[in-house]
């Protein structure tokens, strides 16, 4: 398995000379009753410009917590997060997140949701309308611009949420298990949709998932987290060619990568199961 020798974090964190985002020695714990429960333990990794990096780890290991720190919703206990060299300390439209649970404003139409960022920033009316039209057409929702989120299907809601973020030209697009809860067909279409969008625009993306197939199919880099408290177990370089195509899931390279990463994940899922995490058990039984 020499060709998939893990690209363990060395001097450059696996992301080259000038990474967009640096997560360095980040730890975070939560108070549970009287004691502190460690959730993230000294996590370090970099995200290279123009690449799609995926964070994968067992359910409940701390992925969303990590995303909340990168988004600036919470602050780490120790360590630092920098974007383009500037420390991350508050939410900003240079890093936008789409979560699993929709955060579309139910009281606004699709259009009003999408232009929200432009409105509050005072983008001129004309420019805003053009941008909105362009982005809504891109996600295939221009016809639905006057609907309310509750009138849309799950997949359409996800696309609206993507559009609401993309219109702001973020430097980093973060997706935290964005397609979880969608039916299998919609999920596959959404994956393909985002992959195409990424391959067209080269928008630096941080994607969170707990599904290995999805991860390897989409990623340039795979950051594997351990069971709680989450540490970076390994960083893998997925050097399958782009544009990606479903047929690559039958290639030897995919197969090798998958087998190697699966071994690491199963180790962690088993540890999670020993800690009494039933969801992790489902993960193990579905892997084996």
């Amino acid at each position: 398995m020499a060709e998939i020798a893990p690209l363990l974090r060395a001097s450059d964190g696996g992301a080259g000379q000038d990474p967009l985002l640096c997560v360095a020695g980040v730890s975070k714990s939560f108070r549970e009753g009287d004691e502190h429960q460690a959730c993230l333990d000294n996590c370090s990794f970099d995200i290279a410009r123009g690449e799609l990096s995926i964070i994968i780890g067992p359910s409940g290991c701390g992925k969303t917590t990590l995303i909340n720190l990168i988004a600036g919703y919470e602050l780490p206990d120790s360590g630092s997060i920098t974007l383009d060299g500037a420390p991350v300390s508050a939410p900003s439209f240079d890093r936008l997140v789409v979560f699993q649970e929709t955060t579309l404003f139910p009281w606004m139409t699709v259009y009003a949701n999408v232009v929200f960022g432009c409105k509050v920033k005072g983008v001129p009316q004309q420019e805003m309308q053009e941008k909105a039209k362009h982005i809504l057409s891109k996600v295939g929702l221009y016809e639905f611009r006057d609907k309310y989120p509750s009138q849309l299907s799950g997949g359409m809601q996800r696309r609206t949420e993507l559009a609401r973020a993309l219109i702001n030209d973020p430097k980093l697009m973060i997706l935290d298990e964005p397609f979880r809860g969608l039916d299998a067909m919609t999920k596959e279409l959404m994956q393909e949709f985002y992959l195409t969008l990424f391959e067209e625009t080269g928008l630096t993306t941080l994607f969170v998932t707990h599904e290995l197939e999805e991860a390897i199919f989409m990623a340039d880099n795979l950051v594997l987290l351990t069971h709680k408290p989450a540490r970076v177990k390994e960083i893998l370089k997925i050097d399958l060619p782009r544009p990606r195509h479903f047929s690559m899931m039958a290639s030897k390279k995919y197969f090798d990568l998958h087998g190697y990463a699966m071994g690491l994940l199963v180790e962690e899922a088993k540890r999670a199961f020993e800690d009494g995490n039933a969801i992790a058990f489902d993960a193990v039984s579905s892997l084996e």
Binding site: S92, R95, T103, F105, F116, G117, Y148, S150
Partner: protein, 274 residues
Amino acid sequence: MSVNALKLRGSNVGGKISSYVRGALSVKTLEGIVSLVAFVALWQAAVSLRIPYISNLPFPGQVWNSLGEAAGTSGYWLSWVASLKRILISFIIAQVVGVPLGLFMGMSKPFRQLIFPVFEIVRPIPPIAWIPLAILFWPTEELSIYALTFIGPFFVIVLNVMQGVASIDQSFKRAALSLGAKPSDIFWKIMLPGALPSILTGMTVGIGVAWNVLIAAEMIAGRNGLGRMTWEAYTNGNIPLIIVGMISIGVAGYLCSSLVRLIGENCMPWQRRF
């Protein structure tokens, strides 16, 4: 008023849906008519059959005649005007004061902790129990009626808005902050619309409470109004007119509640049933 209201609703929905709504309305209207006719028939029967106590009531026909007579006098309509004016002014003031107060109590924890204990002590006092103090406290009876009609819905509204704000999902605020929202945007574009369903629930409950208090206050302290008219019918021993007064109060309350509901539906298009 109600006819306009129905027209307004009809104009807001598309052709297909509108005919569906009209269909549903006509079924509803039909049911309403059947139930009313049955009620009046039972009443007539009960009085004719001399059922004990109930037979002290006048016949429906007598009440109908009394209503006809009353409707021919300007006094009857002035009672309507007096009561509606009091409700309208007091209720609007209760909204104007109550909604911002509820919003700030919901958004600021220190502010809430400062105000809420007083609220918890004062709120359980039934608004009617304020009547003696209000009459002594305010220089004119008219002002005390306004004050009482204000207090009733005021607490209901503040508490509803406060809980409404507190229940707004944190993730909406976070998303808005990420997209570049300033504190004023958070207030006007997230908190206010997010709390709107609760504001309207508060209004719906509050308008009912307002009528309760108003009628009691008018009976005790009023010089005119529907409550006073009913009370005077009692002191004059005019039973049909008492019932006319009661029915008028019921209709007035119903019209006000319908108006509030209509405002609600038009303020929150995202909550319409599709």
